[in-house]
């Protein structure tokens, strides 16, 4: 059985570094819909893929967060990107692979991945 002992070491290592990751106005928010509709259509792997990638790449200026139902259940899983000073971008029918593409091209490269946005569905 793995125990909680290791946490002691983490605590010692992290002392003094706390507060570095606090949210600031310059932070981009990536919001994943996690209501029943989102979860049933596969939001959990999308969320974990995004948060893992952000963590691995140590992208402190990006905050991955959850929300409830966005109200467009037929388009779930939905990922919304709120970049400071820019208009909201809504990505629909996400998969972990598509989400990582969005991370690379939009969040890191600054270029919106048009083919996955809600307007690409031709309805809005």
């Amino acid at each position: 059985m793995k125990t909680l002992e290791e946490l002691q070491a983490i605590r010692e290592k992290m002392q003094g570094q706390i507060g570095l990751r606090s949210e600031t106005a310059s932070q981009t928010r990536v919001v994943v819909g996690m209501a029943t509709c989102g979860i049933a259509s596969g939001a959990r792997p999308v969320l974990t893929a995004l948060s893992n990638a952000v963590q691995e790449k140590n992208l402190t200026n990006i905050a991955v967060v959850q929300t409830g139902c966005i109200g467009l259940c037929q388009y779930e899983p939905i990922v919304e990107v709120f970049a400071p000073g820019k208009e909201k971008v809504t990505y629909v029918k996400m998969t972990p692979e598509k989400a990582l593409e969005v991370l690379e091209q939009h969040l890191l490269g600054g270029k919106v991945v048009d083919k996955y946005t809600i307007s690409s569905e031709g309805r809005i």
């Binding site: 793995k2 983490i10 605590r11 290592k13 992290m14 996690m34 979860i39 049933a40 967060v65 109200g71």
Partner: protein, 185 residues
């Protein structure tokens, strides 16, 4: 329908989060000799009246305002009842809610328990201010994850600190594996 029991658990626990719970207790128990899989999700959130708790099991009732149906609890209930299990909910305003579902382990319609690691991982890391107590038991093998214990060891290091989340992931994975003893539920 959800494809895994773990997704139902995530969904029901999200209800607890919306109910402003500060402590959410999730218990999964598998008893092979009794052919039983039991799930309990208990919170100390705002709770519901008896009448509301009954209504919540009806797909055409919801407290949210975006639309008129709410499927989380009905999905979970249906999943349990369709494989010879049980479902009940207890709630009290101001005290919290308890949701219980059981499944016949070997029933042909029982969906897999699924990825409990991901469910717990996303609940804990995305709600760092809420405490979780997770108990997983397979016959006589079990383990408990209590974020209150983690907090007291970590002091002011938050639960969503990257080092802590890596630890959490490994903790869940290794302990599940050990309890499962090679069986995939």
């Amino acid at each position: 329908m959800m494809t895994e029991i773990s997704l139902n658990i995530l969904d029901i626990a999200q209800n607890s989060v919306s109910a402003h719970a500060t402590l959410i207790e999730i218990t999964v128990q598998i008893a092979q000799s009794l052919n039983l899989l039991q799930v309990e999700i208990k919170d100390n959130g705002c709770g519901m009246t008896e009448e509301e708790a009954v209504k919540a099991q009806d797909p055409f009732y919801t407290t949210r305002t975006t639309r008129k149906v709410g499927l989380g609890i009905p999905f979970f209930k249906q999943a349990a009842l369709s494989c010879g299990g049980d479902f009940h909910m207890e709630s009290e305003p101001g005290k919290g809610t308890k949701v219980y579902a059981s499944f016949q382990l070997t029933h042909i319609d029982r969906m897999p328990l699924g990825d409990m690691n991901s469910t717990l991982y996303s609940l804990i890391t995305f709600h760092p201010s809420i405490d979780f107590v997770y108990t997983y038991r397979v016959d006589d093998k079990s383990f408990v994850l209590d974020t209150r214990e983690m907090r007291s060891l970590l002091h002011n290091v938050p639960l969503n600190n990257p080092e802590v989340t890596v630890f959490l992931k490994n903790f869940l994975m290794e302990n599940h594996e050990e309890a499962n003893e090679g069986i995939y539920f």
